[in-house]
Symmetry: C2
Subunit: 338 residues, 2 copies
């Protein structure tokens, strides 16, 4: 296996010329490029990645920083996202660089040292400091979700507000009036969007929101369980619950069973469904009515957007809000007669 | 912000000398090293990662290739592994490079182009071709689990055989004789090890294994459900079930409920528990008896092993089999009287 030096010596050319020829630079004439490429084949030349990256100025990788404080990695949804993201990039010979950190320092360092060509910003806050910092550095990134920002930025979001508006309307049309919301963390944008949709639907019926029925929590089985217990502890228990993730709904299901309540008869439930491959909402004891948007597609689409930005696309052309399906199954029914 | 060229010009030294000084090479004398480092601070020098990596010959990253055929990424267990692995490396300023591929070509290419300094081999087969290939290339790797190999290799495994031996013994001591096993995929080493433990315990009581009670499947809720249905469809239903993952046990639980069977009374169940943060086995409707080994620790330990190999440790010093706890909760009880 030949390296760049071997190849340059064999051809009687400088290493710089050989490198440029291999990378298709037009400053090297076509005949030389052809000769170099033929020799590279004959001598079984393998480029050193670091050398090639130094020559092209590209890392050939996109970064994802796992924040230790948010529980992204406690979350099976994230696996499906990562699967779509990694496969889409791998098809173009591009890598995913993962690291784990707190705060902005890692983003700045990876950008300034060309470790990656761009970032995914996961689980954006309502006003996300990472977005402001990367915009100021003019470093490419795509937000998975949206945030409040002063300048346009690339993002892939799902229609969270619309989805929870439609889901709440369905429950209202079934006659429910005491509807609870088990939402994502209060500081995330998607939770804000879902709360807005929920409020809008209530407002359409002239119903004021009841703060005792609205809760924010992480996407875990435990939290779904604990909040459902809390909801049924008081005298004003809900007749319907909207839940922001399949895992929370799993805990909710456990608690309803302990309360002796049957989902779809005593309590109506609508869950958000990220299309998880490991746990299907149609397979719950009572098949779930869901707002559904496969998170795997978000991973694929964000990969494509990052590549597009790298190829010079403007951020304004890389903004997408995907629709969310409302799928009605057995966990929703008419409100019990009082 | 100064680059290497700026710094070299400022100091009147060659770029090679400055680079070596910054990377602490002893071929540059101490006084020059000191001068270079001081100037780097003053001029706010940021190394280009590709350049530094070219100089040191290290990628500063370890690779994990997601095989498209095995469903590693359908698996929430993998998230906890990745979390431990990434955080441990990040603490040492090392990255994780993820890609997705089939077969050995990617391993060869990443190794030969120095994209990474070593690999994790996940979900090894009974005789794993990746291990043979990387051993032949003398490229560093740590296997998460074990495989049949001709030469020693670095690995981190858990005591799968012992765990399932102990679990089966517990069920036998409770008087169970028709014990089913819902195992991992038949071609994986961990499933083979668990089957061996199961067989040994039966043999100790002089019981022949019943092939109708032994099944191999992927680690999903669906499979746990389908196999449990199958187990109770015939006339020779089991009184106890060993299950290889929390997700399979989730499906098993769903099916037992549909069968009108109560776990811990009508049917005893022991599940393997990877210590998932998103779904806890003590929170199942009937708290589960489990064989427990947190997969997050595997991620951390394998990260440390890869770093050690990179620093020259021999593979023989990087071999570890972690113990597995048997935790008895409410899902196991004495076999029903016939």
């Amino acid at each position: 296996m030949a390296n760049l030096k071997d190849l340059a010596e064999h051809l009687g050319l400088s290493q710089a010329t050989v490198s440029r020829a291999l990378n298709g630079y037009s400053t090297v004439n076509a005949e030389t490029r052809r000769k170099v490429q033929e020799a590279a084949r004959l001598l079984n030349y393998r480029p050193n990645t670091s050398a090639r990256r130094l020559a092209t100025g590209r890392a050939g990788a996109f970064g994802l920083v796992l924040e230790q404080s948010d529980n992204l990695l406690n979350d099976p949804h994230f696996v499906d996202f990562l699967s779509g993201f990694t496969q889409e990039l791998a098809a173009q010979d591009l890598d995913v660089v993962l690291t784990s950190a707190e705060g902005l320092a890692t983003y700045r360092r990876y950008a300034s040292t060309s470790k990656v060509d761009g970032f995914v910003i996961s689980a954006p806050k309502v006003k996300d400091a990472r977005v402001a910092a990367l915009t100021e550095m003019a470093f490419p990134f795509v937000v998975h979700g949206q945030t409040e920002a002063d300048a346009p930025y690339a993002f892939y979001d799902i229609a969270n507000e619309r989805a929870f508006l439609d889901a709440t309307r369905l429950l209202l049309n079934l006659g429910h009036r005491r509807i609870a919301l088990i939402n994502g963390p209060a500081d995330t944008m998607f939770a804000r969007q879902r709360l807005d949709g929920f409020h809008k639907a209530l407002a359409e019926k002239g119903l004021p929101p009841d703060p005792r029925l609205i809760h924010h929590a992480t996407m875990s089985e435990d939290e779904g369980y604990a909040l459902t217990r809390q909801l049924f502890a008081g005298s004003e228990a809900p007749t319907a619950i909207l839940c922001s993730s399949t895992l929370q709904t799993l805990g909710l299901t456990r608690r309803l069973r302990e309360e002796g309540l049957e989902m779809g008869r005593d309590v109506s439930v609508i869950s958000h469904d990220d299309g998880l491959s490991s746990m299907k909402t149609e397979n719950f004891s009572v098949p779930l009515t869901v707002t559904r948007a496969p998170i795997r597609e978000a991973g694929q689409e964000i990969a494509r957007m990052l590549v597009a930005l790298g190829n010079g696309a403007s951020v304004e052309t890389q903004q997408k809000t995907a629709p969310v399906e409302l799928i009605v199954r057995a966990s929703t029914s008419a409100a019990p007669q009082e």
